[in-house]
């Protein structure tokens, strides 16, 4: 089976036009030793009807759980219009908009997206997206070092309260360029960065401070103090934020006296389904003054020959296809279609709609806190939080989660490295999608399993 349209007649007509007898003759420049590879282990072709049935069965196997996991990927309601429009072939099956005149749909949409992200984050500019939140943070670290130019110390301070996967990705993508990531201590009582420890590292010597808001535990950091402290040390501030939270929380552009310098995060909460971990998109915004250090595609508004408005990829001299080894990054493909979804989602919801989703998630998580309190499960940290909470349990959390799953509930995430002291704790999230009966079920199952 294939998607090849040729009839036998056409094939022969084409071979005759080329002047060869058979298709195999077109491979005569391939060394004989390489031909006819052993492909026995590949499957036999199947009709689409059967492939679809098999995949339906696989999908159904994992379906039907009530989900209380967050930890960087969040279950939100996605209005039907979002993916109906995203699924239009004109968006879905276009390439990167290299021929601007034939890509105005995608380009204008990205310009609108850049505007919306700048609004949400309180920053001046945005790029057209990165792969995901983790890799966007890694690129932000590289960008901060470039922006410091000759003053660069090649050292970045990372909060100990950061999503550990983000910390790993950042390390894996930067250490070969001799950039050191230093982890800041956090308060085990408050679950936020320990301000008292900052004094010990005063005196500069680092290029940027990363601030996660909310942090991996769902707790809110004292972002104003941290931002001003970093700036007083000559460092830039890289904010890692949940974009949905910005409908409610102070945007990074307004943190402290001067605001954050670079803002990144995972865009998935804005209309992108969980989908097993991707495709999502990373967003990346910054001050206009360092836009030339920003990696990835950027869309600009311009004029055409007649003086009418149009949109095009711009500042391409930063990019690998022009600058090759001197590019700001090797990134080429980004996550255009997920950005399309986010743009439509933000249009549909508006600031008020996003605020309601954020607020309902905060309140729902509080309902989980109260409900679990009634069976003796207390939050690990006090203090304000967004829509996640660390809850202490009397048993090892991984086993507890597996057992809860047998009863149809995904009861949060257990902690691994570097949070082994939290091995009995659950990281739980209740977005706006959860009802009182969902929460009741969580309480029932957990009280039976602990």
């Amino acid at each position: 089976m294939s998607f090849i349209p040729h009839t036998e007649d056409e094939k022969h007509q084409m071979l005759a036009a080329i002047g060869v007898k058979q298709i195999d003759d077109l491979f005569d420049e391939v060394p004989g030793a390489l031909k006819d590879p052993d492909l026995k282990a590949l499957p036999e072709s199947q009709p689409e009807m059967l492939v679809h049935r098999n995949m339906q069965a696989l999908a159904a196997e994992d379906q039907g759980y009530i989900n209380f996991i967050g930890a960087g990927a969040y279950e939100h309601f996605i209005p039907a219009a979002v993916w109906d429009i995203v699924g239009r072939g004109e968006f879905m099956t276009a390439y990167t908009p290299y021929q601007a005149e034939a890509s105005q749909g995608t380009l204008q949409l990205i310009y609108e997206y850049q505007t919306m992200m700048a609004e949400l984050t309180g920053m001046e500019v945005s790029n057209a997206s990165m792969y995901d939140g983790g890799s966007a943070l890694a690129e932000a670290c590289l960008m901060a070092v470039r922006a410091q130019r000759k003053k660069a110390h090649r050292k970045i301070l990372m909060p100990g309260t950061l999503n550990p996967s983000y910390a790993q990705v950042s390390k894996n993508m930067t250490f070969r360029q001799k950039i050191e990531l230093v982890t800041l201590p956090w308060s085990s009582e408050a679950g936020i960065t320990d301000r008292d420890q900052l004094e010990k590292i005063e005196g500069g010597g680092f290029d940027a401070l990363v601030i996660a808001q909310p942090n991996f535990f769902g707790q809110l950091e004292d972002v104003n103090v941290l931002t001003d402290w970093a700036h007083s040390q000559g460092a830039l501030v890289i904010a890692v934020v949940n974009p949905l939270s910005l409908a409610l929380l102070n945007p990074p552009g307004s943190w402290g006296e001067k605001g954050a310098d670079i803002v990144v995060g995972e865009g998935q909460p804005l209309g992108v389904p969980l989908s097993g971990g991707g495709p999502y998109f990373g967003f990346m915004c910054c001050r206009q003054s360092i836009v030339r250090q920003l990696p990835g595609r950027i869309v600009g508004r311009t004029k055409d020959l007649n003086g009418n408005t149009g949109y095009t990829l711009t500042l391409q001299a930063r990019e690998q296809h022009i600058r090759r080894s001197k590019a700001t990054s090797n990134i080429c493909t980004n996550q255009g279609l997920a950005v399309t979804a986010a743009t439509i989602y933000m249009s549909l919801m508006g600031a008020q709609g996003l605020r309601e989703v954020a607020e309902a998630s905060v309140l729902n998580t509080q309902r989980v806190v109260s409900a679990l309190d009634s069976i003796g499960l207390k939050p690990r940290f006090q203090g304000p939080r967004f829509h996640e909470v660390v809850v202490q349990t009397p048993r090892e959390a991984t086993g507890l989660i597996n057992e809860a799953a047998q009863h149809g509930v995904l009861a949060g995430l257990s902690f691994g490295e570097p949070f082994t002291q939290l091995k009995n704790d659950l990281l739980l999230c209740a977005t706006e999608t959860k009802t009182a009966s969902d929460i009741e079920k969580l309480v029932q199952v957990l009280s039976a399993c602990i």
Binding site: L34, V51, A102, G105, Y166, G276, I331
Partner: protein
Amino acid sequence: MLIFKKSKKNRRAKSLSLANHEVFSDPRSTLSDLIPAAFLRSDKPALPEVSELQTVRHYTRLSRKNFSIDTNFYPLGSCTMKYNPRGAHRAAMLPGFLEHHPLAPECASQGLMSALYQLQEWLGVVTGMGAVSLSPMAGAQGEFAGVAMIKAYHDARNDTQRTEILVPTAAHGTNPATAIMCGYQVREIPVLDSGDVDLAALHKALGPQTAGLMLTNPSTCGVFERSILEISAAVHEAGGLLYYDGANLNAILGQARPGDMGFDVLHLNLHKTFATPHGGGGPGAGPVAAGERLAPYLPTPRVIKHDDGYSWQMPNDGDPSIGRLSAFMGNVGVLLRAYYYANVLGRSGMKQVAEYATLNANYLMKRLADEGFALAYPDRRATHEFIISFQKEAKTLGVTAMDFAKRLLDFGFHAPTTYFPLLIPECWLIEPTETETLAEMDRFVEALVTIRKEAEEDAEKLKTAPHTLPVRRLDDVRAARELDLVYKEHT
């Protein structure tokens, strides 16, 4: 018109409002009890305030301003714009996949993991490599993984003098940019007039400082690298490793395997070879496959099969793996589409992909040559793509390859890749792919013949093209000089 201009204060898609959500009627907790005002934003972000119909109509209309495979022949060289099966899209959008949280326990993820495991296995077979990691999210990230693995291998052997990655001058820009991101220096190797890598120059460049060579085969010149076995032997002899850039794998799928050519590691662009949609610039998926020497260094997570099911291989301290490159498990939705495609094609279908992609490219090349267009490599077979040059037309008629490209848009064809590879002046890289019909390619040839006639009679018509699209030729210089990246007039 921008969506912001359709906005009206206090308008919204009311049916999506959560004002009546049960949480808001619970008097025990209100937002102000939970989050102190100091943390809250004082302004409202200026997002559009529009109805659902306004949104639907706006973005539906915008979509119609795009060329896409679903609407136009899109022979963009090195990008493999083939048909993206709708069935694959539907299967990847099944609720059980869409609602699946990436951190769900393994016991609640076995369906998804079995599909991913199977895909890992098949990609290993079709590339001739032992082991596969699906996690890189695009080709360039796959490249990064591959070169990082080469570095990890040398480092593990304390072979730290190897500081250089060799890259042919025709390579994709991602290759040298990736080598730099991995902490290497780049040395470029020239390409001969025949389109093959200059073997003598390669031999001269190889030495104890060589960490590896990055190569695309077929190359971006649209020809098969005939000396590939000599090249891989020479690089290995010097102690270096070989990276295969899988951008052009569509040309040899099921016909020849990078593993058999001597490559140690490679990435695949599933959004090219395995027909997953490009989405207007992503998402892609760039799985990495490695031979025996580099397999231990593959990025995580990977799916491991046991007697009683599947588990994730996660990065641990002390593992040789280069670790994770994304927060979760890669672009799973893209991987599922590739899984569907691989199932439908099977062994025989995969072999046909390369056969008919090559047939189409050679046919189109012959037709254009017969019409007098200049081939960059007239003595070579086309692979899945080929290069023509407008150098002659630029000199005699004063119209550039870009002028031809812009005028082609008026005929309803997306332009081929222009000005790449950089070493062929005034070039187009043309890749028709296997899913186009003979008739479509014939129409493309007719259009080009017509345009050349126009160039001879009225060059202005090309220089001011396009004429029939939503906008006329755009001013790129102005875009870069008077940076306007964010709409501000609405606030």
